[in-house]
Symmetry: C2
Subunit: 338 residues, 2 copies
DNA sequence: TTGTAGGCGTTATCAA
DNA sequence: TTGATAACGCCTACAA
């Protein structure tokens, strides 16, 4: 049987090194306030005992955790993963640690995770999008938790944010589509409820559609979860309609990949028989056949900027600002003039 | 200017309710030990103050955090995301929280994150694969941190694990490939160094190859990161060889997707001109063209079982065990008899 | 440069 | 059923 392991504490180190706990603490946190001699002595003790500071105790005593929390809708979408990776790299660089949790696109779960992370002493929070219960924002404000909203930009609000204008971006793409002669557009959107990014993208298409003088009733829309399988089956439904679409505009690249796959199964030649567009410009977009016309989003840059903004906020260097990043339309083979 | 917000503590609640902190604590943790009357009184105070327990303090006093940590090589691969999602669901169900961090495939970073999570008071850990410095295992053992290794199974070790035999699975697939008449196999493997799963998969192919009486020197292998782009460029190099491969076996589906894409660009018809196989059976595998022959891995099940095992370990219900999950070969159009 | 000692917000052990 | 009170491990004035 194993002996219950005794985890070394500051006290143990202090004893081993023959100094006080205060000195050990200094060696760990502010080396410059300690003589080289004792520093060496202490570090040796730390080493030989295999001491690691207890995070909880440290956070409690210091009233800051050097931890920031991020809550993303899902880990199963590479775009968040990529942005988060950059976010984390920047944080580590600045001496902060990242705690990630996923809300599975459920606002209630997100609210719970927020409390959770705050209770853990997170110094700041990264959230995705802006649409959430006002109570959540009040809670955050009351606790004074610096928060940055990413993947969306909201110039006219008092939230700090870094992202891009989903609506304008999608509108731009829709403009191009219409300019290329398409008059029968069908949309496969993500689920709009509780997802402002999806809602904005859909609205962007509708903006363009109406601005060109068309009727919203003549714009078929299917909402479906962001999964390749769902993109495929949505396409199947769409092409059964009386008026066949000449182009399918999708809420993201994953849906579009599903569409392209199913289209081929059903004997459609993309883009000759039907065009397809996506959004995000994930790696895959270049590698499906035909390559996907889509909106390029600078995910990594977004992650980096979000980290910088958040740290600035935490360390009280700036007021809340709204960073608007540029996106671009990537014209590839899947969209063709009609 | 906002007033520095005062976060309510147990004391505040106790005062507001006119009871002791001990009683409040009981109301929160063991309701049955408290009279309904005071319970109501206390809960009202909790409510009106918007009190949330401080996690760090709680963990410190109770000597357990009800938190478990997971370290994955990368968030950018959907297979970990999927397994982790299931892992988390199971944990939440059992009253545990999940902390995730990613090591970016760097052993040193992983070691650091392990210390980090332990320092945070994680009650248990989930790690991917088994290949790591012995010192890490010693550290874990000394601290008495229950740990489960996933995505790999190691029957002959004293580690708890849940996963599958990467080597045997890949060997099975290679057997099929060879049975179908292929004699010119080329391999695009993940980077083997520091990644036991990749190493085992490559070894599986080599096992089969040699068992069929062929020479390892005649088996071209390229190691490359698990990214679609790299799969594509590896393919390009491979087909420039003197003896053209009749089949490309890839370390995972992402690499295979890159191969299929590049093959088309170069004018190859898959599978007529060349066959392709993958590993993992991600969603995409069914939706590339032609659909990918691959090894199906039960990622979600793995996550669930890992969670159950870990909790059992933490709550001291079982000894360490090694769960071996079944995988299956998915025969699809990308692999053809020659 | 170093040590002493109080406090961070909980839980848990005893008494009452 | 409740209330004091001592941990838990660390940081940080303050004093020496």
């Amino acid at each position: 049987m194993t002996v219950s392991p005794r985890i070394p504490t500051l006290d143990d180190v202090a004893n081993a090194a023959g100094v006080s706990t205060a000195t050990v603490s200094r060696c760990l946190n502010e080396k410059q306030k300690v003589s080289p001699k004792t520093l060496a002595k202490v570090m040796k003790a730390v080493e030989s005992l295999g001491y690691t500071p207890n995070f909880n105790a440290r956070a409690m005593a210091a009233k800051q955790s050097h931890t920031i929390g991020a809550i993303i809708p899902t880990m199963e979408n590479a775009i968040f993963a990529r942005g988060l990776q950059a976010f984390q790299e920047k944080l580590l660089e600045q001496g902060y640690n990242l705690l990630v949790s996923s809300s599975a696109y459920q606002p209630k779960l997100e609210a719970q995770q927020i409390r959770e992370l705050v209770a853990r002493g997170a110094d700041g929070l990264l959230l995705i999008g802006y649409e959430r219960d006002e109570a959540v924002y009040e809670y955050l404000a009351r606790r004074g938790i610096p928060t940055v909203l990413a993947w969306a930009s909201i110039p006219n609000s008092d939230h700090a944010s870094v992202g891009f204008d989903n609506r304008a971006a999608m509108r731009l793409l829709a403009d191009r589509v219409i300019e290329m002669g398409h008059r029968q557009i069908a949309v496969i959107s993500g689920i709009v409820e509780g997802n402002d990014r999806a809602a904005e993208r859909l609205a962007g298409i509708q903006d363009s559609w109406q601005a060109h003088g068309f009727d919203l009733d003549a714009l078929p829309v299917i909402q479906t979860p962001y999964e390749i399988e769902h993109g495929a089956s949505a396409f199947e439904r769409l092409v059964q309609a009386d008026v066949k679409p000449t182009v399918i505009m999708c809420g993201n690249d994953v849906l579009a990949a599903g569409v392209i796959s199913k289209a081929r199964d059903l004997g459609f030649i993309v883009p000759n028989d039907i065009s397809v567009t996506g959004f995000d410009d994930i790696e895959l977009a270049k590698h499906v056949f035909p390559a996907l016309t889509t909106v390029h989003v600078p995910h990594r840059q977004m992650g980096r900027v979000a980290a910088e903004s958040l740290i600035d906020l935490i360390e009280d260097r700036t007021k809340k600002v709204s960073h608007q990043l540029d996106v671009s339309i990537e014209m590839r083979a899947s969209l063709q003039r009609i």
